[in-house]
């Protein structure tokens, strides 16, 4: 199921283990007191339509570069100790993991702010696209709030 946790920025087909990713981040410092994680998962409903599958595509290299920029800016702007970001591509079933952001810091406040900023920024600047499969067929999602 899970893959190597070596890199703090990853775009991968395989699922990941939240526990493993958190443990990898814990190794960065003995002074971590707060860890906020955001995990995005596949919802069954989207604008009233029943979704049967999701499918993600990314622009290789550019997407990874954007995630690394988000990581660096989060560390710099919010004073967290570190951050990891993982996004899956390919087919995703309902309930499966899509994206994980782990923000580790000395105290909880900065990790909440950094984590919430990072997922919003990821949606805004990272070249990743979602295709939803419903009973009506497949559609690329063009607008995410």
């Amino acid at each position: 199921m899970s893959t190597t946790t070596d890199s703090k920025i990853r775009i991968q087909l395989e699922d990941f283990s939240v526990t493993d990713e958190i443990e990898a981040m814990k190794k960065v410092s003995r002074n971590i007191g707060g860890i906020t994680t955001f995990l995005g998962t596949g919802r069954e409903l989207s604008k009233g339509e029943n979704i049967t599958q999701l499918n993600f595509e990314h622009y290789p290299k550019m997407a990874e570069k954007k995630l690394e920029e988000i990581r660096q800016q989060a560390i710099k702007d919010y004073g967290i100790i570190d951050m990891s970001i993982i996004h899956r591509i390919g087919p995703i079933e309902i309930g499966e993991n899509i994206v994980l952001i782990v923000a580790v810091g000395e105290h909880r406040k900065e990790t909440f702010v950094a984590c919430e900023w990072a997922i919003a920024e990821l949606k805004r600047v990272t070249p990743i696209w979602k295709r939803e499969t419903t009973s009506k067929g497949e559609v690329w999602v063009q607008d995410t709030p």
Binding site: H58, Y59, I98, V99, I128, K130, R131, D143, T144
Partner: protein, 83 residues
């Protein structure tokens, strides 16, 4: 030679995933959209009407960006990653 990439919904519009365009000198985005219009009129229109985002060498660009030989230009529909 310029590499042109189309992602997600734009692949359907351009009817291709990737194209290679031979150029003798640097060209403007307008010139590139004219070249693209010859094979994909609708895609050319999308670019001229600024309905797509553009990256050059994996950095965001715009209609003023000059494209050089060897560059990788990508046309990007609105992003929808995240969850």
């Amino acid at each position: 030679m310029i590499t042109v990439k189309y992602f997600a919904s734009l692949r359907t519009i351009a009817e291709m995933e990737e194209d290679r365009i031979e150029v003798e000198n640097s060209i403007s985005m307008d010139q590139l959209s004219d070249i693209i219009s010859k094979t994909s009129p609708k895609m050319g229109e999308f670019i001229r009407d600024k309905k797509v985002m553009i990256s050059v060498n994996q950095e965001m660009a715009d209609s003023d960006t000059i494209i050089h030989d060897g560059d990788e230009v990508a046309f990007l529909p609105p992003f929808s990653g995240g969850s």
